[in-house]
């Protein structure tokens, strides 16, 4: 089935739902094909290939709402599926905010080519995937004498789909994805530190090559050797650009309209106010050419637009979906983020490290959580201790704890090194006076 046929099926499904009693309906149909190979000890450990279909359906019946999905696209079976979905919806409570988005929110122009499909995707051969992973794994094994286990993977995916709303929206999308990754374990006096590297891109040619992947995975592991916890205390925290998104994304849940409406956010009432230092500027840009999270519309059909979520510490915008936007009396602007960019500073990580007297470079999070209602957080970490501008020791088994209301005000610098292999292009970030617990 191609997107044209999917579009016809989605139109039919939407019409059928209306015929069965729905007031409005939204239908999305997609297909995703993925392949993954994994190599260990110069042997294929796994090959995995699959194709997945999905139809999802939102029913609005006199302001009553339900959502359904199935992987069975047989029209005859769908008739039953849709009939029952419409039928079941009537038993729910009516809620006047349960309607499709106003058509004015849909994109007017989707002609810009976002270049999300690698035209060479079909020519990627099974041999190429295996050979790439074999090469990476061999380089890993040669990289250190005490390697216990080395694994390299190559995976790719191609997906396409359509979305149809009964009040006048019809859109389609397609993309390709390539991923490469490596992980290594090294014997270290009884402990077996493991590290790795991964990267994803829409175009194969932009993916880092085997030597870079192996090199970065080895570096990530070797720098963990000898790790142990050190004294509890307040330290300057340098957050590695590769993992900084993990912390940044914790801000998005309390920014969502749902959390605001459900009184479940420490950012309630903070619109237009300062929630962080002047170094904190966050931009959501869904229209970047070739971007990992680029799109013309989101999963409600709402038009994508570039927006500055936080500017020099001031909260400019919540993430507002249709339903909770209506509840809050705010215009929906899309409830989810896409490509994340930040305001970048002037120095790279190495220069930042050289300038520190004493600090901890955090290179990995290990569990932990954050409370979106109060802003409290506590995360496990590992990384390196920096003294007099130099990395002196690997540390692990420590926590950082505090409250986001303070932490984002303690952001004193961002690097000039956005991480290129992810939809969140976060730089190295520096925070002053963070509570670390260890010994």
């Amino acid at each position: 089935m191609n997107n044209k046929e999917r579009m016809e099926l989605a139109q039919w499904a939407s019409n059928f739902a209306i015929k069965k009693g729905a007031t409005e309906a939204a239908v999305a149909i997609s297909r995703s094909r993925s392949v993954q190979v994994e190599v260990r000890e110069q042997k294929l450990e796994t090959i995995r290939e699959s194709t997945e279909n999905s139809l999802s359906l939102q029913i609005y019946r006199n302001n009553k709402y339900s959502g359904h999905s199935t992987n069975n696209l047989n029209k005859h079976q769908l008739e039953t599926f849709i009939s029952e979905a419409v039928e079941a919806t009537q038993y729910l409570s009516p809620d006047e905010d349960r309607v499709l988005p106003d058509p004015s929110l849909y994109p007017e122009d989707m002609s810009k080519n976002l270049e999300l499909v690698d035209p060479g995707y079909a020519e990627v051969s099974p041999e190429f995937r295996v050979q790439t992973a074999m090469e990476t794994e061999q380089l890993l094994r040669q990289g250190h004498p005490d390697i216990l286990s080395a694994t390299a993977r190559f995976n790719d995916n191609t997906g396409e789909g359509v979305r149809v709303h009964s009040n006048g929206f019809a859109g389609e999308w397609a993309n390709t994805y390539f991923g490469t990754s490596a992980s290594v374990s090294i014997m270290d006096k009884g402990a077996r530190p493991s590290g790795g590297f991964w990267a994803g891109q829409r175009f194969l040619e932009n993916l880092p090559k085997s030597d870079e992947v192996a090199q970065k995975a080895l570096e990530d592991t070797i720098k963990q050797l000898g790790q142990e916890k050190i004294a509890s205390g307040r330290y300057t925290m340098i957050l590695d650009n590769r993992i900084a998104a993990g912390l940044l994304f914790r801000l998005f849940q309390p920014m969502s309209a749902r959390n605001i409406q459900q009184k479940n956010s420490f950012l309630d009432g903070m619109l237009g106010k300062s929630i962080g230092s002047e170094h904190l500027t966050i931009i959501d840009d869904p229209l970047i050419v070739g971007g990992m999270a680029s799109r013309h519309f989101d999963n409600e059909g709402i038009a994508s637009q570039k927006r500055t979520l936080i500017e020099k510490g001031v909260l400019n915008s919540y993430l507002i979906d249709n339903y909770y936007g209506r509840k809050l009396g705010m215009t929906p602007n899309g409830g989810s983020t896409s490509n994340i960019l930040m305001a970048y500073g002037n120095r790279n990580q190495e220069q930042i490290i050289r300038a520190q007297n004493k600090a901890i470079l955090v290179t990995s999070f290990n569990g932990g959580n954050a409370n979106s209602t109060t802003g409290d957080f506590s995360f496990g970490i590992s990384g390196q201790l920096i003294e007099n501008g130099r990395i002196v020791k690997a540390v692990n088994e420590m926590n950082i704890s505090g409250n986001f209301k303070n932490l984002w005000n303690q952001l004193i610098e961002t690097g000039n090194d956005p991480y290129p292999y992810s939809s969140a292009q976060t730089p190295t970030m520096v925070f002053s006076g963070v509570d670390f617990s260890g010994l």
Partner: protein, 515 residues
């Protein structure tokens, strides 16, 4: 993002589930044509074959195709999964979700190598095509014989009296409304309540090249309630949930009242919470959900795939003394109606109670078929998968510590300054270094042998083998967690559970503030 690395996530389902849905019984219409197929609870093997539209001959043909390139083992995992969720927010049951998925996963093993493919189109041609893809893992002229299929009879670790397909949305709505009213009645400070109810039914038909064919009916249900309270301009949010392989009779008034009370009490106590000191201190783990300690500190590291690859901190410790002699830790697939209970594992093996630590000695890894063969031992029934779209891996089921010689009171009295950890949201471990964490949502300070002020939102981090050595007291009050735990590994989530008596760890690092 990190799932490709040796990092294991453990997430509890939140207050609002996002998948699942309404009752769709007629998705089954036309599938079952076997005699006696009146209630899914009484379906026999023939009903399952009819359900998936296959015959034993077709299955054997597909297995033969899977072995055509010289693989030494092949299995087929047919699954039909139906999820339903109904949820309440702002005093209204105003949303419902359903998901139906249907397909067959085909796996071929050659030595320790795995080929995997699946199809959502259960026809002979599609299955054979998927089998050829999986077959490519092997390249040998050897030909394994496909054994004739014989039905494996399964035990009944989750017998229920009424299938979820027969409980209509109308039957569920009143008890969500009841929960909402109950929560608001318990404390005037409550300003928001969310209630969500999910049920899942999974029909499974399994067959392999060794001649096993078996069918299983796996039910699951979860009720989660969360609330937000406001007091003096401050807000706090928390909740409580209960999940298991139960039928609707589990959700009687006493259980609903108890869940509502737990949700409210666990929220209100947070208003008085203080932050503990940062650093190492004694930690007392309450009976029940603190079995998360075992799941992270030892369970994942004992999964034998990590060990056969030399990646785990436990790789060289079998037969060694790792804890005091009063410490015994098991992983058990047989606990009745528990979230982690399974009648067979997802590669056709019997489940059992597996001792990982027996009286202080490290005894057994948790095996799947590949690792059991690698070590030359019997499979332990830990080969599990998220769905037909995934290949089995060694996974935990219900992990718990057996009772020990101490009393809860004497454990608390033995602590001068430390914390008492009571409820948890998530945990994680790094397999190789062995450092693991779990997040304490709520607990208490212990000062001079007494539980004093509440604490909230602190992460605890320790090293697996070291913490096992530092378990210095174990009480005799074991409880199982009823939380809706889902264990994540390699991008796959499977339902699991855990339990523990009250336990004292002499020192472990607690996230807190520095004076």
């Amino acid at each position: 993002m990190n799932k490709e690395f040796n990092r294991r996530d453990f997430l509890k389902t939140g207050g609002i589930a996002v998948a699942g849905g309404i009752l769709l019984p007629s998705m089954l219409t036309g599938c079952f044509s076997g005699p006696g197929a009146t209630s899914p609870l009484s379906y026999q093997l023939n009903d399952y074959l009819n359900h998936f539209g296959v015959t034993q001959k077709m299955i054997m043909d597909v297995i033969a195709e899977g072995l055509s390139r010289g693989g030494d083992y092949c299995d087929l995992y047919f699954q039909h999964n139906i999820n339903n969720t109904v949820a309440l927010e702002d005093n209204m049951v105003n949303r419902a979700f359903s998901n139906v998925s249907f397909g067959v996963g085909i796996r071929v093993i050659s030595g320790e190598q795995t080929g995997y493919s699946y199809t959502e189109d259960i026809t002979l041609n599609s299955m054979k095509s998927a089998a050829r893809t999986a077959a490519n893992i092997a390249s040998s002229s050897a030909h394994m014989k496909v054994m004739p299929l014989a039905e494996k009879q399964l035990p009944g670790y989750y017998k229920i009296n009424s299938p979820w397909e027969e409980v209509s949305i109308n039957d569920k709505i009143p008890f969500l409304q009841y929960m909402n009213d109950k929560v608001f009645s318990l404390n005037p400070a409550i300003v928001k309540t969310n209630v969500s109810f999910s049920d899942q039914t999974s029909y499974i038909l399994f067959a392999n090249s060794e001649g096993i064919i078996a069918c299983d009916y796996q039910p699951m249900s979860s009720l989660n309630t969360s609330c937000v309270a406001e007091k003096n301009g401050q807000r706090e949010q928390n909740g409580y949930g209960s999940s298991g392989r139960n039928d609707v009779s589990f959700f009687d008034q006493a259980n609903l009242d108890r869940i509502a009370r737990e949700a409210v009490e666990s929220t209100m106590i947070l208003f008085d919470a203080v932050a503990p000191r940062a650093g190492e201190m004694p930690v007392v783990l309450a009976a029940g959900s603190s079995g998360i300690l075992l799941h992270e500190a030892i369970g994942h590291g004992m999964e034998a795939d990590f060990n056969r690859r030399d990646e785990s901190i436990f790789s060289d410790k079998i037969g060694k003394k790792v804890a005091e002699s009063f410490v015994s830790i098991v992983d058990d697939g047989t606990t009745l109606n528990n979230r982690g209970a399974i009648n067979m594992d997802d590669e056709g093996n019997d489940v059992k109670q597996t001792y990982m630590v027996d009286n202080g000695i490290l005894t057994s890894y948790l095996h799947d078929r590949i690792s059991a063969k690698h070590y030359g031992v019997e499979p332990t029934g830990n080969g599990r998968r998220e769905s037909f779209r995934h290949m089995p891996l060694p996974r935990m089921r219900n992990t718990y510590m057996l009772n020990g010689p101490h009393k809860r009171e004497e454990i608390i009295e033995s602590v001068e300054y430390g914390i008492f950890a009571e409820s948890f949201t998530n945990g994680q471990v790094r397999i190789g270094p062995g450092d693991f964490t779990f997040y304490v949502k709520q607990g208490y300070l212990i000062e001079n042998g007494r539980m004093t002020r509440p604490i909230k939102d602190v992460n605890i981090i320790g090293n697996g083998p070291r913490v096992l050595q530092d378990i210095v007291m174990v009480a005799d009050d074991i409880e199982m967690s009823e939380g809706g735990w889902t264990c994540g590994k390699g991008g796959q989530g499977v339902p699991a559970s855990m339990g523990q008596p009250t336990v004292k760890v002499s020192r472990i690092t607690v996230g807190g503030v520095n004076a």
